[in-house]
């Protein structure tokens, strides 16, 4: 069954949006969540010499941000190849 190119583009875009939602949810949770909204609760947990909430706000969130972008690069490259929209 030949795939309608318009349909294919739609599915590709939908998958892309799903990836974004997942990654941005994590982005929100580690920074605004762990670093700000739940900082006091997390501060009662000790991580090495850090209070956990404080660590998320000044260290952890930044590490996760870096990982998120590389996860995005990996997923999108795979998605591009799967839908045959990648660049040469």
């Amino acid at each position: 069954m030949p795939i309608d190119p318009k349909q294919k583009t739609k599915v590709y875009w939908k998958k892309n949006l799903q990836t974004l939602v997942v990654l941005l949810l994590i982005w929100f949770l580690v920074s605004f969540g762990c670093g700000i909204l739940w900082v006091e609760e997390l501060n009662s947990i000790q991580l090495g010499g850090f209070k956990l909430g404080f660590w998320f706000a000044q260290q952890g969130s930044i590490y996760v941000f870096v990982l998120l972008i590389f996860a995005y690069v990996y997923w999108m490259n795979r998605l591009d190849r799967k839908f045959d929209v990648d660049e040469e």
Partner: protein, 561 residues
């Protein structure tokens, strides 16, 4: 060798390097001038983006800012890095696929309106000028502190250097000098940080030393909390800002970062869409190295500063305190005449004034490092200031030559356009230098403007322009204007008209002027969507263009005209 000799040698060497690169990478076409020919590798672009982004303020002031703010300083750390996630996921790949040269280009084309383009140009120019004046000032301050020349001369020398590679090389020259500047600045930042971390905690990695122990069984942060508490200050790891305000400031800085034109434009320089994604990742790695070190430097710095001065006899203060007293960055005033320094929260009793900049600038001396490290820090601070200034100047010159001249006089030749771009860059250098020498009193105040405005103006219309095909020009223009006027109005009211009311009690919903860009952004989004709903949909050609930018294939080289 003397500190001064080392500083001259290291600063001189790095300047020679930058000029050498500028001559080697002269721009021959508008495409090379605007986007370095579109052929920069993702790794090089990531480094250049990091240098572009990290300004004199990041290098010199941020650690000190955090040192005195403690947990509240987290807004800068999360805000100025988290924005790259938004940039990488939501903007950079699509803008690269769009394939033109500037942010106003995108706004003007996507919203098929020269009015939208002009509004975008005005925002870009305003944001960039605010920023660049601060950088020039930074260059002048570094010169005057380390090389013992007057600030004015420092600014002029800085202007000549930037003039050289921004005006000659355009984006191509800037990109490759920024790669060199990143290496200089990160080395200069890390060397003292590593040594101080070793001295205090025995761990050479500052990010780990930050959580290390200063005495057996007592971690640095617990000790710091205790020391500050004893003196009557708030604990280091506790916040003083309200949760709402923390949230809003962080959001405004993140979204503002993603909307800054000089950062966005860097992603036009890579060859492919997937390179744009990857290079945002590299950029954040390079930025994160400094941004995860800064809070450690902050904690080490405030701990050292208090430890070596508080309750110590005035006559026996360490030599670095005496050295930096000359520059007024640290001031000791024995108010009660007991011969001992008291560091206290009450300004009437406090005898020790420490400027935030000292945490980085004096760090080599605090750690008793060799003289060449002091020279290195000077060269690093200079690299941070120059690289950011150059990136901003390019946005200014491109806005003038391309977004204004070329739009309204499309018949001009490429050669002429290139000449106008160079003249605009030269004009911008001179104007920025003027503001560096005669800083308007409000420079520090208006930095909040730059981020707030970028958040409230650009970000929503670019995002909606990519992710919604229903948003039309009426929506975009009214959204940008509402976001802009609201944010400008709020900041102006609290910073300039009634600064005495600038307290949490009078803020709307408890949001400070620093965080108001978040509300401006939300208003922009709402107005954009609502107005678009009641006005005609964009023409079919725009719908096609949106479909086109969502698919990576076919990005090719950046489109020339």
């Amino acid at each position: 060798m003397e500190i001064l000799t080392w500083t001259y040698i290291l600063v001189g060497l790095t300047f020679a390097l930058y000029i050498g690169i500028a001559i080697w990478s002269r721009a021959g076409s508008t495409k090379e001038f605007y986007v370095a020919g579109g052929g920069v590798s993702p790794l090089a672009n990531g480094m250049a983006t990091a240098a572009d982004w990290m300004s004199a303020a990041s290098f010199i002031s941020m650690a000190g800012l955090i040192a005195f703010a403690g947990y509240d300083g987290s807004v800068y750390l999360m805000g100025w890095t988290g924005g790259y996630v938004l940039l990488a996921l939501l903007l950079a790949p699509y803008l690269r696929k769009f394939g033109k040269f500037t942010v106003p280009d995108f706004v003007g084309d996507r919203y098929y309106s020269n009015t939208a383009r002009v509004v975008a140009v005005i925002c870009a120019l305003f944001i960039s000028f605010v920023y660049v004046a601060g950088q020039m000032r930074g260059v002048g301050i570094v010169f005057s502190r380390y090389l013992e020349v007057p600030i004015e001369w420092g600014v002029v020398i800085g202007m000549i250097i930037v003039f050289f590679y921004a005006v000659l090389g355009g984006m191509k020259g800037i990109t490759y000098t920024q790669v060199a500047q990143y290496c200089v600045l990160i080395f200069a930042y890390m060397v003292p940080a590593i040594f101080i971390s070793m001295q205090l905690t025995g761990n050479p990695i500052p990010q780990l030393g930050f959580g290390g122990e200063v005495e057996a069984g007592v971690s640095l942060l617990d000790k710091l909390d205790g020391v500050l508490d004893d003196l009557g200050f708030a604990a280091y790891t506790d916040g003083r800002k309200s949760m709402t305000d923390m949230f809003m400031i962080t959001l405004a800085l993140m979204v503002g970062t993603a909307g800054l034109p000089h950062v966005i434009v860097r992603f036009f320089t890579v060859p492919r869409v997937k390179d744009a994604r990857l290079s945002a990742g590299y950029a954040l790695v390079f930025i994160a190295i400094l941004y995860t070190t800064a809070p450690a430097v902050a904690a080490f710095g405030i701990y050292n500063a208090i430890n070596s001065t508080s309750e110590k006899p005035v006559s026996e203060l360490p030599t670095w305190v005496q050295t930096w007293q000359k520059t007024n960055l640290i001031q000791v005033d024995d108010k009660n005449g007991d011969g001992i320094v008291q560091y206290l929260p009450d300004p009437n009793q406090n005898e020790l004034q420490i400027d935030k900049d000292i945490m980085v600038l004096a760090s080599p001396e605090i750690a008793e490092l060799p003289n060449w490290v002091v020279g290195l820090v000077a060269a690093g601070a200079m690299a941070a200031a120059l690289s950011t200034a150059a990136g901003l100047l390019l946005v200014i010159s491109t806005s003038v030559s391309r977004d204004l001249f070329k739009t309204f006089r499309p018949e001009i030749t490429e050669k002429k356009e290139l000449m106008i771009a160079r003249i605009a860059a030269a004009g911008a250098v001179i104007l920025a230098g003027y503001f560096g020498v005669n800083p308007p009193g409000f420079v520090a105040q208006v930095v909040a403007f730059a981020f707030g405005l970028a958040a409230a103006s650009f970000f929503p219309v670019i995002l909606l322009g990519i992710f919604s095909s229903r948003i039309n020009k009426e929506g975009a223009i009214s959204g940008m204007l509402v976001g802009l006027v609201f944010t400008l109005g709020y900041i102006t009211y609290f910073k300039f008209i009634s600064p005495e009311l600038n307290t949490a009690k009078y803020w709307w919903f408890g949001v400070s002027p620093e965080g108001i860009g978040s509300i401006g952004m939300i208003l922009n989004f709402i107005v954009c969507v609502v107005v678009s709903r009641f006005t005609p949909a964009p023409p079919a050609s725009i719908q096609e263009m949106i479909e086109e930018i969502r698919i990576p294939r076919g990005a090719g080289k950046a489109i020339d005209h």
